[in-house]
């Protein structure tokens, strides 16, 4: 029982990272109808920004964190203008290929600067963790879970309670109609890219002390997050969060009870099971109703 609780905690912690990246996937998909294959590189770039400011320059952790997040907001702007905006009137295919191209460009640029050896980033807290009864709560996982809870609440408030959130939803549902009402569609898409880049960046910064900072970290996280969006129901915000958490828990338990080397395999086994038996995902009906 103690082990179960311990694994549950770790699984939710890693699942929270998948959930944040998955949320970025879903928001961009709903706004542009395109899967952003560079979403994982958003996390990787943010983690390397932390390495630049916190490790290489030795600036305070909180300052590096703020600069990295601001950098990701700017990165979202550049990504939108450079990758999506020039192709916005084309079909989804050129845009998808452009995001794949951006993903390759980003990882190889970082490779050229930092080389293939992984970098190490310290966690936010000096205390490694606290013992709560039978469960050891790692401080970095606690931070990840706390930030994710706050972001999910913020996300709900933003999209459900503010007029700007409603305009973003309207734009994702029918761009032409949104523009007829005077909603600036290009501004809404810009906001979506900024928000998704910051979400992905946060996930990367939070998970970096748990993993290593490497050019592959983005694609690993993005694959899991992509699987999470399919498990949750593609295009569904709640689905992305539930799918991400579920995937984190499943692979943690799989690694502990069945096989550690096949840890990544469990995620994709679950993905395949969903694709065969419930391709619409957990929250699939709601997506179908929106169509």
């Amino acid at each position: 029982m103690d082990l179960v609780l311990q694994l549950l905690f770790t699984g939710i912690g890693i699942g929270a990272v998948y959930a944040l990246v998955a949320l970025g996937f879903v928001l961009i998909f709903r706004a542009t109808n395109v899967v952003n294959f560079a979403q994982g590189e958003f996390s990787m770039v943010a983690a390397y920004l932390m390495v630049v400011f916190s490790v290489d320059l030795g600036w305070p952790y909180w300052l590096s964190f703020l600069i990295a997040l601001a950098g990701m907001a700017l990165f979202g702007v550049i990504f939108n203008l450079g990758v999506y905006y020039p192709l916005r009137h084309r079909t989804y295919l050129p845009v998808i290929i452009a995001t794949i191209g951006a993903s390759i460009l980003l990882s190889n640029s970082v490779l050229a600067i930092y080389g293939p050896q992984p970098q190490v980033l310290q966690g936010w807290f000096d205390t490694p963790g606290i013992q709560l009864g039978p469960v050891y709560l790692d401080s970095q996982y606690l931070l990840i879970i706390g930030v994710t809870i706050l972001l999910v609440l913020f996300n709900f408030w933003f999209f459900e309670k503010t007029l700007l959130g409603k305009k973003l939803q309207a734009t994702s549902q029918d761009k032409e109609m949104a523009s007829l009402l005077g909603i600036s569609v290009s501004t809404m898409i810009m906001i979506t890219f900024i928000y998704s880049a910051v979400l992905g960046g946060l996930a990367g910064i939070l998970v970096a002390p748990v993993l290593f900072v490497s050019i592959q970290m983005g694609s690993t996280i993005a694959l899991k997050a992509f699987a999470a969006t399919i498990i949750g129901g593609f295009g569904d915000v709640a689905g992305a969060i539930v799918g991400g958490l579920a995937l984190g828990v499943i692979e943690t338990f799989g690694a502990a009870y069945i096989s550690v080397p096949y840890k990544d395999g469990f995620a994709f086994l679950v993905l395949i099971a969903f694709l065969v038996f419930r391709p619409q995902g957990i929250f699939g009906e709601r997506v179908a109703e929106k169509a």
């Binding site: 409603k166 549902q173 029918d174 109609m177 009402l181």
Partner: protein, 242 residues
């Protein structure tokens, strides 16, 4: 000076010439109805006015200024609100949210928009009970009411209505047209209809479009009076009254 004046408007979709020199004028305070068969260019005319279709040549003057070539976001800010074909109510937003977004062309605080949306239900009492229902759950008639209410939230000087009666039961069509005759007290309306009888019943002036050209224009009585024209373009009239 007319509120809206279209001169020799030509619109092309690729190789196809959808409008081949359309000239119409809409005076302030009028309801003008644009009639014609499927594919005659009625919706294209409205799409060109609201900025969704780019004119190849010709001009569109609103309140004395050319608006041809402006984007839809700029045009709705000038006071032209387009309620397009198919209602286009946002399926994942509630009725009230849909209506509130109609005010996106104006800079007013959210609290005021919310109050104005509530007041809109006085004009559309049938959808008041569905205020919190999502768009996709509504019937065709309810969707049409939401679409018109949303269009009115822009406080337009000119309202463009595309086929408001399409696919609705006769009793609902009558309710929609009762609303149009109420709207006309404050707003100029350019109405596109296949249902000539209803379309002309509320109109001050009518135009008939045929394959991208205006072939006839006049007061509703004159249009009805022309038996040959009525039989050809206003479907059903000649049969009923012959």
């Amino acid at each position: 000076m007319p509120l809206l004046e279209i001169r020799n408007l030509v619109v092309r979709y690729g190789e196809i010439e959808a409008l081949r020199g359309v000239t119409i004028a809409v005076e302030q305070g009028q309801v003008v109805t644009l009639l014609g068969a499927n594919g005659a260019g009625k919706s294209t005319t409205l799409r060109a006015i609201s900025g969704l279709a780019k004119p190849a040549s010709g001009d569109i003057m609103f309140d004395g200024h050319s608006i041809a070539g402006l984007g839809p976001e700029a045009i709705v800010r000038l006071g032209i609100s387009h309620v397009p074909e198919g209602r286009r109510v946002f399926p994942g937003l509630t009725v009230k949210e849909n209506i509130m977004l109609g005010a996106s062309n104006r800079k007013v605080p959210a609290s005021q928009i919310s109050r104005e949306a509530d007041a809109m239900f006085d004009l559309f009492p049938d959808i008041r009970a569905f205020s919190n229902a999502l768009g996709w759950t509504l019937s065709g008639g309810q969707l049409q009411m939401v679409a018109v209410a949303r269009g009115l939230m822009a406080k337009p000087r000119l309202l463009l209505l595309d086929e408001p009666s399409l696919g609705l039961a006769p009793v609902i069509v009558q309710a929609v047209f009762r609303i149009i005759s109420q709207i006309r007290k404050d707003t100029t309306v350019l109405l596109v209809e296949q249902n000539a009888r209803m379309g002309l019943s509320v109109a001050d002036h009518g135009f008939v479009l045929e394959t991208g050209r205006i072939v006839l224009g006049g007061k509703p009585d004159e249009l009805w009076g022309n038996e040959a024209i009525a039989a050809a373009y206003l479907g059903g009239h000649a049969k009923t009254h012959a």
